[in-house]
């Protein structure tokens, strides 16, 4: 578990490259600001990173899966896999977006892999992960191999939010990609009809991005206004 603890800054970007994606930076303590810093806590800074790339052996069936996948991609997309992360008993394979469809094809069709069941696509927005702000996560299950699981993660920059659609490989991802477009603004190129699915068709913005405010309207009672959640006092 020690690898997963909050990293206190020292090495900056260098340590981030070693440990994983920087997802948050915090300053000070107790959320206090504006007053003179008499405690010294104002100088407190921490940088939070996601678990970094793992080294072999990954354990369990993970080595076998990664080997089979690498072998299957040798001809078509040798540089597809960016990194492999094993954390909390889950295997995540980070894939270049250009090679996503080839990777999915291999995962579905290779006899040693056979991840037949796609549990969908979802997004996560990391504004601090520069050039890779939008992540798309695919969870796959192999019934043939007794319920093996794998997560495929791919990224795209905010400035160019395009990821190839996987509907041709897994038709199950149709609505999921529409949802990820709706909520994060990721454009899945090649999707048969990338319309909004949860928000109204004429909605502006993508609500689950981190820069999209929650509860923009104050609730009024007895002359007071309850501010939106993000503007209330927070305890961290």
């Amino acid at each position: 578990m020690s690898d997963n603890q909050v990293q206190v800054t020292g090495g900056g970007a260098e340590s981030a490259a070693r440990t994983g994606t920087v997802i948050a930076q915090r300053h000070g303590a107790f959320g206090a600001s504006g007053a003179g810093d008499v405690t010294g806590f104002g100088g407190f800074a921490e940088q939070v990173t996601m678990p970094g790339p793992s080294s072999r052996p990954y354990g369990g069936y993970f080595d076998e899966v990664v080997d089979s996948l690498t072998q299957a991609l040798e001809a078509k997309a040798p540089t597809a896999i960016e990194k492999v992360v094993v954390d909390r008993g889950e295997l995540t394979v980070y894939v270049r977006r250009e090679d996503l469809v080839a990777v999915m094809m291999a995962l579905r069709d290779e006899p040693a892999l056979r991840f037949e069941l796609s549990l969908g696509v979802t997004g996560v927005n990391y504004p601090l992960d520069k050039g890779r702000e939008l992540h798309a996560l695919y969870h796959l299950t192999s019934l043939t191999h007794g319920g093996r699981n794998i997560r495929v993660e791919t990224t795209c920059p905010d400035a160019d939010p395009h990821i190839p659609s996987t509907v041709s490989v897994y038709p199950a991802n149709d609505w999921h990609e529409r949802e990820a477009w709706d909520m994060f603004g990721i454009v899945f190129d090649g999707h048969p009809g990338l319309a909004r699915i949860l928000m109204p068709d004429d909605w502006v913005g993508h609500p689950q991005r981190k820069d999209y405010p929650l509860g923009g309207i104050g609730v009024q009672f007895k002359g007071a206004t309850t501010p939106p959640v993000a503007e209330r006092r927070r305890y961290f």
Binding site: V6, V48, M50, R88, L117, G120, H176, G193, A195, A230
Partner: protein, 448 residues
């Protein structure tokens, strides 16, 4: 135009609409609509169907393109019950977020809570520290929620085929289960009972007595349903060979749960990847091989009996396993064992005395845990459980803070509803009703 575009990416522009012969009917008399259609010499009708299923009242839009009585194309409109649960959770502490996730699939609230809490347990690295008694309570509650969910699903199916009695029969049985939930958690639905690290509080003895007293009534409800429907020729006629989806269709469309098991494939996460100690219970995975609505009905029916079998085992284990119901780690466990006091309110007198009279540190700790919540180490996990609707997954991402960075609920019904076009296109309009019910959509979970 539609030949090249399988799904309309945008509303049809006016110049297209002006050229086509169409009747726009907003409610009104069906005779008027029919005569207008007859005048246009056009058999093709596009209608927004429903509401027919209890889940569809104002929240599920089915657009059917009909050729006479046959369905040419089915489109499903979602989002009418989208409440931004996932986004709202990001502004709440990990513990408070249970309240949100409970409201996703509100017919089986505690199954959602279980999946979410398993995800948070995994992030915290305490999966194997959950006390035995808490595991048993989680299983007991989740299985009763499954029975309650299946009762609603099958009652609605019967109701849609014109049998209002079936709704009353199943809701009668469900009521006893909800009474038990009320006795345990104080609420019939949206319980927020299963918590990261265990459960909110222990099950009171009276609740167990009440469940045992009501046992036969719950079973009677299941048996009545069986007696009324399984051999009923009208029911079989409506359900057999309808909405056929075989194993390959299930894999392609990501269908799980009773729909997958009705193809004969025994995929049940409680057996494949047991969680919360399901490996310690004896039960069978129910399958049928008809791939149709009848198969899904039978799978659900038999599953309820298997669930009650698990509940009986859980009750026996519960008696034999005293002990804590929350992890011992005081940085995670909400302090104080809250019980309903004589005033009907939740009280923990000992704890209140401890923090107000005895321990300043205890008070600080209590304050921090309640206002700030506990910190979860950064990382991401995807927990899966066998929800009554199918495989439910919760993706939880933490940035090391006290609030979720991102939570995504992969609701089985969201995927299952996607198969509606594949099930209904080419069939008659009367089959659509049966197919919708066989998917068992609960829009709270689908739209989140």
């Amino acid at each position: 135009m539609t030949d090249t575009m399988p799904h309309a990416p945008a509303p049809a522009p006016d110049e297209v609409m002006d050229d086509s012969a169409f009747v726009l009917a907003h409610g009104g008399d069906w005779n008027d609509v029919a005569s207008e259609v007859a005048r246009l010499q056009e058999e093709r009708i596009v209608i927004s169907m429903g509401p027919q299923h209890p889940s569809t009242h104002g929240v599920l839009r089915l657009v059917l393109e009909l050729d006479g009585e046959y369905v040419k194309e089915t489109r499903v409109g979602l989002g009418f019950l989208h409440t931004g649960i996932e986004k709202t959770m990001e502004a709440r502490s990990w513990n408070q977020a249970v309240t949100m996730v409970s409201r996703c699939d509100y017919v089986a609230s505690m199954c959602n809570e279980l999946t979410y809490c398993l995800a948070v347990d995994k992030l915290l690295g305490i999966t194997d520290q959950i006390p035995e008694r808490a595991q048993i309570i989680r299983v007991l509650i989740a299985e009763l929620a499954r029975v309650s969910s299946h009762l609603v699903a099958l009652g609605s199916l019967g109701n849609e085929l014109g049998g209002t009695t079936l709704m009353t029969v199943t809701f009668r049985g469900r009521e006893y289960i909800l009474n038990f939930f009320e006795a345990v958690t104080g609420q019939r639905m949206n319980n927020a009972f299963i918590r990261p690290g265990g459960v909110a509080h222990d099950i009171p003895d009276e609740a167990i007595d009440q469940l045992i007293a009501d046992w036969d009534k719950i079973m009677l409800s299941i048996d009545d349903l069986d007696d009324l429907l399984t051999e009923n020729p009208i029911f079989r006629g409506r359900c057999e060979g309808v909405g056929v989806l075989d194993l390959s269709a299930c894999m392609a469309l990501g269908l799980t749960g009773p729909i997958l098991r009705s193809t004969g494939y025994p995929y049940d996460l409680r057996k494949v990847a047991p969680y919360s100690g399901y490996e310690n219970y004896e039960f069978d995975v129910c399958t049928e091989d008809s791939c149709d609505v009848m198969g899904r009905y039978l799978v659900r029916l038999h599953e309820m009996r298997q669930s009650m079998r698990i509940v009986a085992q859980a009750l026996a284990k519960l008696r034999a396993t005293p002990g804590p119901i929350m992890v011992p780690d005081l940085r995670i466990a909400m302090p104080g064992q809250v019980t309903v006091g004589p005033d009907g309110q939740g009280q923990a007198p000992d704890h209140v005395k401890h923090i107000l009279s005895d321990s300043m540190e205890g008070l600080i700790h209590h304050f921090k845990l309640v206002t700030e919540g506990f910190h979860v180490p950064p990382g991401q996990v995807f927990a899966q459980t066998e929800h009554p609707k199918g495989v439910q997954g919760v993706l939880a991402v933490s940035d090391g803070g006290t609030h979720p960075y991102r939570v995504h609920v992969r609701d089985a019904a969201f995927n299952n509803l996607q198969s509606l076009a594949a099930q209904t296109e080419g069939g008659t309009i009367s089959d659509v009703i049966v197919c919708v019910a066989s998917v068992d959509p609960v829009m709270g979970g689908v739209d989140r």
